[in-house]
Symmetry: C2
Subunit: 603 residues, 2 copies
């Protein structure tokens, strides 16, 4: 108990739950870290996919970046409408479930849960890559550093991060300003000709290869779009008018994300930067523009910090979504209850452990994790937009046709991109997610059907009224006459007038001794001696119990097992565990309840 | 249950325990397999220790063999006296404990237990070496074959090996005759000059090295002496007059062992056989004398069989010794009880698992295991002989001086050999045993002191007479009104007139609903609502229970926990385990007993 409070602090009372509302400036900092931080790796992923075909295709990178920026604006517009239509919070799970039914909701929910886990794994490993780019000697410890970062986030979130807004503003804005400074200075240096213009690529590639490589690069770049839906989940966190403020923050975020992404991709192209093993593209770019001085290290630090913040948002989204799904009966009930510090502790633990597992399996390298990433994101986008289409069709409110077309465009676009990503990256790891989503959906449905069946079976409606038992027999199996047994007999006499002690005989001499002792100490409870042919206590005892059950139909039987509680754990190994075996067997006998009466040993 | 009876057979009734007595011929077969089988590896171990110094010291092997044969006759004479002095069975544990006290007995017991484990590991791996010498292609699977052999022995002994004597006679006598045939034909061929006389070794070694190497070779050769005490443990298994028959078998065994050992060592020396990687010395010798025809394969088969039998004797000795120690309170009580098939199942399982672990750790190679072997054997020899010296000193019967001198000579000789073995082989693995023996002794003493303390605490002598409780309060913590709860209430009403249901309130709305339902279904049991500030059921409940305990001093409290038993194991994961937590906490509250009342779910 004390280790727990040292790590996560003292329990907090329920009524102290805070209801702080966010301004647009802090709201942007809180909800955009996931989306904005992805520019730290998205450009690099595009380049990495293109260089597979040699340098010939490198200059496609700008075109891909522009296409993704266009996609960002389509998706953002689509979510703009969701924010206004679901002012109480319109996550993909809720929108899809409300409009398209449970199955669509569960698919969206499974996609999002996977997405949150991957956000932690990708952001932390990319953040560590920013650190090891600046301090290469740390690079051999990258897995360890990533695991330590996840452990810290877990602990911080189990404590419940207070004053979150103000702390979060610092690295987010530090990152935004430093990236814009990088782009500005980089563009200036490029335009004033102080840097060389890019060499024209000369290698050629066949057109099949070109199409496939470019599609895969596009799919990789789509990792920039993760987190764009974050605002739509948290509308109620904003100051009123909530939908208006939230939607403005959404547009700001999309604009900043789009321009940072295009800017970095443009500069990487024109500064001839190619992905290398132990340094990120952003680090190379910063070094090329500012050389490795204080400003370079500031950019790396801001990058690492915003990526860690991005991971932190998942530590709030994952437990919240699983608690919503748990309340709907699709997830184990334990995910829906708040812990000592008013947070959903179980969800935080599960997320941290699964993400840590992924970091270990994928050797702490974000490049290995990214192919898994975008499938879940775009599946939830598609379902959410499709749900909105259905929403407008059903409600037919003001300007419903226009709204429906906008969300329809979003749905179709993201569906097409989803297919592109899943197929282009299938063999690189997307298959894992393609399998995992239906598996999770299947599990959630099994969970739900179990809860439903339990609720049916526990219901009192229409069931016959309970009647009192007509008789209560108490049976105490004894191994002799000693303190633990007498303690149990004393308790048994408090339960019923009908108490018997049962002794299983192995050795007639011993039995005679026990009988004599019983006459003296047995509190006038009759001792019944059963014969055992096979040196087992169990069979004769069970037969006796069955006999009593036959005699007193409509009655109930209590079997009292004398037990002693030793002082040290290893003492348990030194005693027969027959009592456990008897309890286990009695659990399946109806009309029989077993009780252990503990005697506490002092030494 | 059915898998168990398939593997080990149906339970056997206690009265069917057999009391078959052994003739001298079957007695020799049963008790000598451990001792006789060691000639399969003892000569090889001597040679292996000598060749470390080149071939210069090889011709010491005969001298060492003769020394060990002399040692065998000393030890056998000493045990001859033990057999007559302890006709009911004079194992080292009993002789040392009776005459030298508990500590000496425990040291002897620990040594023997270790010795039995090593007998299994060494004999099985040596038996597999006999097989792989004949069929070299099996040699890469030697660990697997050894483990399979141990598993078979475990199963066989768990079933209880019947008609043991007659089956055991076959391989033992087959081995004895084939080894004597080998020696006879080998000697004949050597003496008639049809084989080359040995090359005279030319290499030299310094005298320090010589002494150390020869002592180590002697220590290795002492592995031939394991099992020589077997007869003294099982005197009562012989036909009357038991001590006389047993002692005659002991002398036979020593004579056969000594002559086989000297014979093999002599031939190995004169046929210039040196230890090689994948073929045993005995296999090379048999091949040299008979070439690889049917007789060769017969010898290998007999060797493998007798070694497996030797391992089998440990499967009877280890459980028997641990059951004796368990009855004295020095081992967990479970080792003292017979299983379904009248054998000490727990001891058999422990022996098999530990021996299998040793085979894996030491890579299935008997050469790696032998350095651990002889320490335990000679320690138990020494203690047993020393105990006999004390025995004669105390009793001073007929010819006690002569008897004491014989046992004293045995004790001193084996003590000297023990020191030689432990120091010469210390770094090769003997250190493990030197550490393990005091550790086991310490554990046995801890076990004994726990049992003594429990017996003291459970004793009824002198303790105040038990009085009946003055009051019985029943408390049922409920999570609402449903079948499982009503089932528990129904049971509670059978226990006492004073029953209350306790509900912990998190949400006032929900509480009102529960109260209404309770009025309808609650069987007129009062519902007490407790407030919780920290979303925990535990604290308010515990406070309430403490309050009731204060009110009814001299009374007892039963806490009834409604529980439902799901159909599938994974369903448990889907329910809060609060009931378990409550039970765990109540275990440490005196005057409070907790009971789960199960409701069985149908689906």
């Amino acid at each position: 108990m004390s280790i727990k409070s040292l790590l996560i602090g003292q329990p907090i009372e329920t009524r102290k739950e805070s209801h702080e509302r966010l301004s647009k400036v802090t709201g942007l900092a809180i909800f955009s870290s996931d989306a904005l931080s992805s520019v730290a790796y998205a450009t690099e992923e595009i380049l990495l996919a293109l260089v597979v075909a040699g340098t010939a295709l490198i200059n496609y990178s700008m075109a891909i970046a522009v296409a993704i920026a266009a996609l960002i604006s389509i998706v953002a517009t689509s979510y703009f409408q969701t924010v206004h239509a679901y002012p109480s919070g319109g996550g993909s799970y809720i929108v899809a479930k409300d409009n398209l039914g449970d199955n669509a909701g569960l698919v969206a929910g499974a996609s999002l849960l996977i997405d949150y886990v991957l956000t932690v794994a990708v952001s932390i490993t990319a953040g560590v890559a920013a650190i090891t780019s600046a301090v290469p000697s740390l690079s051999e410890h990258k897995v360890l550093i990533s695991l330590a970062a996840i452990a810290l986030l877990m602990l911080g979130n189990l404590r419940g991060v207070k004053e979150a807004g103000r702390i979060f503003s610092v690295p987010t804005y530090m990152f935004v300003f430093s990236i814009f400074a990088l782009i500005g200075v980089g563009l200036f240096k490029y335009l004033t000709g102080s840097e060389p213009s890019p060499a024209v690529p000369v290698e050629a590639a066949t057109s099949y290869v070109t199409i496939f490589v470019v599609l895969r690069a596009f799919a990789s770049g789509c990792s920039a779009m993760t987190g764009i839906e974050a605002v739509s989940n948290g509308i109620q966190a904003f100051k009123p008018p909530e939908p208006r403020n939230a939607s403005i923050v959404l547009i700001w975020m999309a604009a900043i994300l789009g321009s940072m992404f295009i800017g970095i991709s443009f500069l990487a192209d024109h500064y001839n930067i190619l992905p290398v093993e132990n340094e990120t593209v952003l680090s190379q770019l910063a070094a090329a523009i500012f050389s490795k001085g204080p400003i370079y290290y500031l950019i790396q630090a801001a990058t690492a910090l915003i990526l860690i913040l991005a991971a932190n948002t998942s530590f709030q989204d994952f437990p919240r979504l699983s608690s919503v799904m748990a309340k709907d009966g699709f997830m184990p009930r334990q995910l829906g209850s708040r812990g000592d510090r008013l947070v959903f502790s179980n969800g935080i633990l599960i997320l941290g452990l699964v993400a840590a597992g992924l970091v270990v399996v994928f050797k702490g390298d974000p490049h290995n994790l990214i192919p898994l990433y975008a499938v879940g994101v775009f599946l939830s986008f598609t379902l959410s937009q499709a749900g909105m289409v259905r929403h407008w069709l059903r409600l037919r409110g003001k300007r419903w046709r226009r709204n429906m077309i906008i969300n329809g465009l979003g749905a179709v676009t993201t569906a097409v991109v989803l297919v592109v990503i899943a197929s282009a990256k299938f063999l690189n790891g997307a298959w894992i997610v393609v399998i995992a989503i239906p598996v999770i959906v299947f599990m959630t449905k099994k969970v739900k059907s179990h809860y439903d069946s339990v609720a049916r079976q526990l219901s009192l409606e229409g069931a016959p009224r309970a009647v009192e038992y007509t008789h209560h027999s108490v049976i105490v199996p004894v191994s002799g006459a000693h303190q633990a047994v007498i303690n149990a007999i004393r308790y048994a006499k408090a339960l019923s007038k009908d108490v018997v002690a049962v002794y299983v005989c192995f050795d007639p001499m011993e039995t005679t001794r026990v009988k004599q002792k019983w006459n003296r100490y047995g509190m006038d409870v009759p001792l019944i001696v059963l014969e055992s042919e096979y040196r087992s206590v169990i069979e004769p005892l069970m037969e006796y119990i069955d006999g009593v059950r036959e005699t007193h139909k409509g009655g109930v039987i209590t079997v009292i097992l004398p037990e002693f509680v030793p002082q040290k754990w290893w003492h348990h190994l030194l005693h027969n565990q027959t009592a456990w075996l008897i309890k286990g067997l009695l659990l399946f006998k109806r009309g029989v309840v077993s009780t252990s009466v503990p005697l506490h040993l002092e030494e």
